[in-house]
């Protein structure tokens, strides 16, 4: 039950971090950017069509298909953490991973004084801890 792909999408729909793992179809970077901004658009639409005003978790939370499960976690700051995994992966596990990812983002990207907010994450410590976080859930790194 591996994870295929991880995205971090910023407030304006830009892809700021992505990782693809073994076992899935590989998308070139441009396609990743397009997918991320499309997802952001869907997220915005789903928030607007929500019939419930002012609830906690309005918006797109996940997407289930026969061959994959997509889980989105969006804290109130608007950044989105997205993971794509096999359908047998339990939702709690995916949400746990995304919450941990949020913590890593806060610790190793935002607290890095040389990281500019909303820009692609190129922080070595983030990479290291991200790899640690993903290790139990992937078949093998691709990139």
């Amino acid at each position: 039950m591996p994870i295929y792909l991880v995205f971090v999408v910023n407030r304006s729909g830009g892809l700021i971090y992505h990782a693809q793992f073994h076992g899935a179809q590989v998308h070139p970077l441009n396609e990743c950017l397009r997918l991320a901004s499309t997802l952001h658009g869907i997220q915005q639409i789903s928030r607007q069509v929500s019939p419930v005003e002012n609830a906690d978790d309005i918006g797109l939370v996940g997407l289930e298909a026969r061959t994959f499960r997509l889980r989105v976690y969006q804290p109130p700051t608007g950044v989105q953490f997205v993971v794509l995994a096999t359908p047998d992966m339990p939702d709690e596990v995916l949400l746990g991973i995304l919450r941990r990812l949020h913590l890593l983002y806060a610790d190793y990207a935002l607290k890095n004084p040389f990281y500019v907010q909303d820009m692609p994450i190129r922080c070595r410590l983030f990479d290291i801890h991200f790899a640690k976080l993903m290790k139990p859930h992937i078949v093998g790194p691709l990139e």
């Binding site: 950044v79 919450r99 913590l103 806060a106 610790d107």
Partner: protein, 221 residues
């Protein structure tokens, strides 16, 4: 503990037991007191969970920063502005740390953010207990009161600056930056400061506007 050194320490931490489950309090007017107590508990837990930095070190580092700003800028008013700017930039980034770590319930309104800031955030980052007071009737303004201020533990204001320098103005900036990231544009300013001889510290937070992006419902082209 000031935010900056604490941040660095937290950044060096890798593994943390964040699986603790905190019961989410229900926000009803009848249960307001219970709610505040529950929030205090969340704040206390977050404080215990976080890595702590020596408060004397933080107070002295912050003091050195303010001293340098006083030397660099001619008017204490400008020092206030600079401290606010520093705080603002900290707040923009720190809010994600708060959301990821604090396990605080989500704010449904601007007024609800008051208790969260006072009970959870102040406890978590500064280790002090703060309370909310003077809430405006329309809920667009509130004050945060706190008695002890770890940043100003060893400070004394020289006489000429007593009326103009807000020593801990960085906290106002942090509040402003953090709330802006969650779609509330606010003004935050000190009203009272123990350093100036007042009986407690008071920060006044007032809502400027909500930043929520909304698509106009009518078909204007």
């Amino acid at each position: 503990m000031s935010e900056a050194p604490r941040e660095r320490l937290q950044a060096s931490q890798t593994e943390r037991n964040s699986s603790e489950k905190v019961p989410r309090p229900v926000a009803t007017s009848a249960g307001a007191a219970a709610n505040a107590a529950a929030l205090s508990k969340i704040g206390e837990q977050a404080f215990q969970r976080g890595e702590l930095v020596n408060s004397e070190l933080a107070a002295l580092t912050y003091g050195a920063l303010v001293r340098q700003l006083v030397l660099d800028y001619a008017h204490p008013q400008q020092v206030n502005e600079q401290l606010d700017r520093i705080g603002y930039n900290i707040g923009l980034r720190l809010v994600d740390d708060f959301l990821a770590r604090s396990a605080a319930p989500p704010c449904r309104s601007f007024a609800a953010s008051a208790e969260i800031i006072a009970r959870v955030a102040f406890r978590m980052y500064l280790g002090v207990n703060a309370k909310v007071a003077h809430i405006a009737s329309d809920g667009s303004e509130y004050s945060i009161l706190f008695d002890s201020n770890p940043l100003a533990e060893f400070a004394e204001l020289p006489e000429p600056m007593k009326g103009s320098l807000w020593y801990s103005n960085v906290i106002c900036g942090v509040i402003r930056g953090a709330l802006e990231m969650v779609q509330y544009s606010v003004q935050a300013r000190f009203e009272r400061d123990i350093l100036r001889g007042d009986d407690c510290n008071e920060i006044r937070v007032s809502l400027v506007r909500e930043l929520e992006e909304r698509v106009p419902t009518d078909n204007e082209i």
